[in-house]
Symmetry: none
Subunit: 221 residues, 4 copies
DNA sequence: AATGAATGAGTCTTCATTCAT
DNA sequence: GATGAATGAAGACTCATTCAT
């Protein structure tokens, strides 16, 4: 799974949409600033210890609030992870759609997408850890959330591929679903390796190699 | 990560090597039959509920033994998962090495590898779930096990790719590491989709499409 | 072993020093009242059933708190016993030092000490049971605690004896260590008998007989 | 409490009485040699780890028998400790009675008794540990055993003291019960110190000093 | 008689969640 | 809204004891 995203603190012009609408109704009348602080703390803590090994009190401590305060902003522990993944995802998807939308070439759009994917995670290593390590779990444990959001992302990729196929840029004898799986899987695996190897290489600079391989294949001819 | 494997019940001619060496010395003087039964039960239960949500008593119940008996064969709950991943991995790697070893063409070896990868997981859906969902977790939670074993697999793939590059079959302007990541990631993502979508398509039959895409790329020309 | 002490509820003028310093820093920001309640409950329960047969839930129940609450005040079950012994010991030693300090005659100081020893345990029969029955165990099981605290008490006794020897009140041909052992052992045995015979005689009133026997032996004439 | 004794291996002419009648009927038709081996192993293990921390399997291992075999000779774990204490006690008491019986002077009998007490424990340090550390526990936990056996010992001491009082050797204004407590307590405390200080002094040679102190106190003149 | 694999009852401890202040 | 002390359900693990061989 592993999914690109962009934390609260990064959006440019999309920021306005994200902050004020903390993808839920939880943070009703409370200070959204504290909501975000808890979310950021949660991502850090979960990245360090994993979701199951993270105590709500750890998160509260890191966020500088009391344990009980967490429950003013989140229904339960699961919702914290959910919200963190969700908000990051939303930010990423928004940006991905807007950035790729202004391009014509399907190939160029995929290249940009790959760069955004890697850049989003490279920018926030903690979030990257959470996405690569906790998302699959959550897929089954925390319900269908991730699947829905991932499907959005997959649909974006598949749409671009189909577009390229219709325009004759891409081979049409390949299922767009499988092609999307391969591209996503390639990027995802790269991020996982980057996480497991503790960021010992530059992630974003690998985008071109991956996309190039995806485009041209490994065959010598 | 997601990793192919083959449970006890699957090996053909390699079976002899696998069964008698239940990668552990734990089950010293006890019946290896019971060891395997607990392992199989564990895989099923973990596949259904996830590792953290699986009770040792669930596993014991499924295996038809008393709770305490589990601890005659495994040091603790973590070791059960560890052993399951490990034994399946070993079985897969052995088979992969032997099957690919008898081929000359690097391309053909990759194709076979992809088929084995998908077939191993398709054959044992529970194990597939465990690998796709729990392995990354375990990478961080249960220590470095999975990384070491995965590296073995990666090295196998990379070796074949480098061989193809040296023989001129594959492009040499692509890092073997990145290429291996892409191939593995593509297969892995396919399996994850298959798991999350509850096996609603035939996994093994997709091997050719993935390998073909990996070989030739998506570019129309 | 068996050691006199005085629980929270008994100090006269020394109370102020004892209560505010519940020899622990554990119960940081929590109500010290609850800390003491758990300690008292623990002493009662342990006195009745012995340490190993006492459930933490028994203690919690007796203290009128939830099981988990015990762990807000004590690190684990061992620490409960530790703290009980320690706090009682501290209270006794303080009082013993202050009471004997205001006397001149070594003989008189030993007599008072013996009375305090017996009185402290007679006053809190549960604590007496714990001291007579659990302290030796704890010497080996819970670490060196009891030894250190007992040494304090022995040193107090030995100091008085040496003083008497120097002043010519006591025979000098007797090792102060052995003499202290005999006096302590005599008192301790008396308390043990009192405990095992379920308090069927008045403990404190035996102090004079014991001291008298001890004196007529060690007295220079 | 702490009680003198003499392990199986030490009795001279009393041995015959002890071995063949392993104070119970447990070892019915089994080899008494194995019974004794288990008992000795138990004493060693319990001395090292304490009763509660000793596993039956530890004892079996040390005795060189299977776990289940222990239960052919002993009803349960408690009975092992019980039997160990009991058999040692019986051996000691028998010897004490016979040795003191052949003397006339009450003073001399007490002196010999003290020497036997210390010698019995000094001879078998493991047993000494068990007696000093586990006996009080067992007094309450394992039932009334120790009390009954201890009463035997106390009665022996008290009888000698009363005899001395009647003969005018000892002061009559001292309760024989208290005097016995003091003598026993003094010896017991000495042994405890010897155990806790890991045998860093010679135990038996202290007998005279203790008895001397006791005498000069209780002596009519 | 001896074995030792199997049993399963028993308990300490953790930690998400609540709620009185 | 914020706090954090209190709650108590839940579960991994141990080990005395049994019994089929």
């Amino acid at each position: 799974m592993g999914v690109p995203l962009k934390s609260d603190s990064g959006a440019d012009e999309t920021k306005a949409t994200l902050k004020p609408t903390p993808e839920a109704s939880e943070a009703a009348g409370k200070k959204p600033e504290k909501y975000q602080r808890i979310l950021d703390a949660a991502i850090e803590v979960i990245a360090e210890k994993g979701f199951v090994n993270s105590r709500v009190s750890d998160i509260a401590l890191r966020a500088g609030v009391a344990d009980g305060t967490v429950y003013l902003y989140f229904k339960n522990k699961d919702q914290i992870l959910m919200s963190a993944l969700n908000s990051a995802f939303t930010a990423f998807i928004e940006k991905a759609r807007s950035e790729t939308g202004r391009l014509d070439s399907a190939a160029e759009r995929l290249r940009i997408l790959a760069q955004l994917h890697l850049a989003a995670l490279a920018r926030n290593p903690s979030l990257a850890v959470v996405f690569q390590m906790e998302l699959r779990q959550s897929a089954r444990i925390l319900g269908e959330f991730s699947q829905h959001r991932l499907v959005e992302y997959f649909d974006l990729i598949r749409g671009i591929i189909r577009d390229g196929q219709e325009k004759g840029t891409f081979r049409s004898d390949v299922s767009d679903r499988i092609a999307a799986s391969c591209l996503f899987g390639s990027l995802d695996e790269l991020v996982t390796a980057w996480v497991l190897r503790r960021h010992d290489f530059d992630l974003v600079s690998k985008a071109d190699a991956v996309v190039d391989l995806f485009f041209r294949g490994i065959d010598a001819r």
